[in-house]
Symmetry: C2
Subunit: 418 residues, 2 copies
């Protein structure tokens, strides 16, 4: 029985094969995502992994629709696994925003799905950190969100020599398009062409642009000039005040594929340009009104950071720690007549918050010691009965090899303090 193509199993470390996915690395990434978002005052939310199909087809643009993992359920309802989190967020905010103070600062760690033609190494699911600010028009919100993005990546030990945020503006591109007499109805078509600029043959882009009444040279000149708008300058100044200016550059080569962006947009890339985008996001001031049928109208912005590219980058830059078993100590049972008392000791140590393992069945003491070392435990404990009949705990530090003798009563606190 095989798993479905494009899906991942996550195994505990050490991994038996280098091509398996690590549950420990995933959890390590999740913990850093959560901790950084919380330090910025973002609150966690989540929605269902399945939504009504029309939640996603209503606004996301053609790129995402072709890749939806959608199907009919047993009740003939058209549903889809979520390809992105923003529509769910917009739906949730529209339903209950009245009771939350603005700006709303929320984050989620959703698993997202797409149904792509199966290609080697192409996944049909990944996890994302999604962080959004809702109810604030001021570019101070864009700066706050970008600072969170930067600090999230810094929390993994990545620095300004590892990554850069390419900051752009959908509204600057809109202005460019209209100034060059672009047809307003074909605006999104134009954004799509610019979005593909770096990945397509110049001749293909040239043709698309010509069809829209523009030239590749005009587009390239606009990107090259890279003149920040007033809004982008305000974001730059804000991030400079935080000391984060080295992580940013204005780069109109970025425009984002999704249809719903309206203002500043940005993507995080590794400096060497070896990987796909690490994260991307921007303003989508009209989306909540659209998805709530005009009921709620709130400006909003957000970004998503996937686990796959991030993990590749952390591996390549050797920023991942070595993942151990997480075991603090192993209880060695040398004398089977002391098993019941050892179980009691184990119970007490675990109750004190220590992670303790032991051999469920009788085993040679040297095998038990060896197992403790394999697990990366920092100590072993074992019970010993004195000639007086009294039980004592012998604890050996597996680093220093030093052995301490302590009473059963003292053991939890003393081992905890180590």
């Amino acid at each position: 029985m095989e798993r479905l193509p494009g899906f991942r199993d996550f195994y505990p470390e050490p991994l038996p094969q280098p091509d398996l996915w690590s549950a420990d690395a995933r959890q390590y990434i999740f913990e850093h995502w959560r901790a950084t978002a919380r330090s910025y005052g973002f609150r966690e939310y989540d929605g269902p992994p399945l939504e009504a199909l029309e939640l996603f087809t209503l606004k996301s643009g053609s790129e995402i629709i072709g890749q939806l993992y959608n199907f009919s359920d047993k009740g003939k309802r058209e549903i889809s696994l979520r390809p992105e989190m923003t529509p769910t967020l917009a739906r949730m905010v529209a339903a209950h925003e009245r009771n939350y103070k603005k700006p709303i600062k929320w984050f989620a760690l959703p698993q997202l799905f797409r149904y792509e033609r199966q290609q080697k190494g192409r996944l049909r699911e990944h996890f994302q950190l999604n962080a959004d600010i809702i109810g604030e028009k001021d570019p101070a919100a864009d700066a706050e969100l970008i600072a969170l993005l930067i600090d999230t990546l810094r929390s993994f030990g990545l620095t300004e020599s590892d990554f850069v945020i390419r900051l752009s503006s959908r509204s600057a591109w809109q202005e460019f398009f209209l100034q060059h007499k672009g047809e307003p109805a074909r605006e999104y078509e134009f954004y799509q062409a610019v979005d593909k600029l770096e990945r397509e043959e110049p001749a293909v882009t040239e043709q698309k642009l010509a069809d829209l009444g523009l030239s590749l040279a005009q587009v390239r000149a606009f990107i090259e000039a890279g003149k920040p708008t007033v809004e982008l300058q305000s974001i730059l100044d804000n991030l400079s005040a935080r000391g984060l200016e080295a992580y940013l550059k204005i780069d109109y080569g970025v425009i984002r594929g999704l249809a719903y962006y309206t203002g500043p947009v940005f993507e995080a890339f590794d400096r060497k340009g070896e990987f796909r985008a690490i994260a991307g996001g921007g303003r989508y001031d009209n989306l909540i009104a659209l998805l709530s049928g005009g009921k709620v109208n709130l400006p909003a912005l957000g970004f998503g950071m996937g686990d796959v590219v991030l993990l590749e980058l952390l591996k390549e830059r050797q920023k991942l720690p070595r993942f151990e078993s997480g075991i603090d100590g192993v209880c060695v049972i040398e004398d089977e007549s002391l098993r019941a008392d050892s179980l009691k000791l184990i119970q007490t140590l675990r109750g004190a918050g220590l992670a303790i393992d032991y051999s469920l069945t009788p085993a040679k003491p040297d095998k038990q010691f060896k197992r403790a070392q394999e697990l990366g435990a920092s100590f072993v404990v074992r019970l010993e009965r004195r000639e007086t009949g009294e039980l004592v705990v012998k604890a050996r530090d597996l680093g220093t090899r030093q052995e301490d003798v302590m009473s059963l009563v003292d053991a939890p606190a003393r081992l905890k303090r180590r």
Copy 2:
């Protein structure tokens, strides 16, 4: 746009309506599940939320098959959202068990799905703690697993007066069935009848049993005698050594609905009997061989604990903490000319691991103070420019109302130490 029936949105606290689901309570439950499993030396794993349909139809018995959330994907593949984790675990273990030391002790926190006829309050998804031990036949493994179940519930502040583990044995029931001349081929039918005993009209069960050549009186007498098998006695003794005997009772009224159990089975219930089972599990020694086509043959056992009943119980017993914003401090910006310097301070404090919030746009100081209180922050900080031009940090403890003045350099360490 509505969410699909039977699915949940999770909102940050404080909840605007009492009937909404709390993302904070969910995370609180997840953290306790993880911490306790780790203290027992269990390692985290995960698989895909979707699997090939036959992974679930191969062995789970009729009860689960009718409730599968299955469909055909765009490639005409028959797939299903996972209704339980055990088949995925068995698949993963069968693929790579050679490289993991036995016994394997693994846990996961999967979201599980079922497609039931929509009823008021009946959910189509829930989360579970799944913990399993693979590769150990000895009842010491059953005891270790049940101890983990007990300590997981205790980690929430629940005690022996709140819940009890009803311990039973599929093999004891098998022996009973064969001794009473039951037809081996109809064994599972018999287990199903016993499983429904507490929920069905006696006349219905009586009829089912008669059809199998047994009487309700015989079954009731067996349950009432409640004589532990050698295996169950060994589990009881092991748990007594840990001091956990008060959490257990032998109760053959429990048998578990799934087809694949083979030995000891158990369920956790609230003592008052107000809720459905909090958790359930048991031995399934033949399942891995079945699902791996005989390739791998390992004894195994596990339990699942759902988030929905647990949350109801914790609420009813008032064991949930009050969930705050998680914000440590709020930076109040009284003087807009100090905004850039305040952003620098906020960046430094967050970098030191403090959760800091502030007003993204100019706001009256008293409004900013009020917001700090609403957020449950423990302090506010603000910058003040001395006549000498020097900037100092004023930090007010929102509990004691005491205000301390400190330098920008000292602020992170001093506020962190509070």
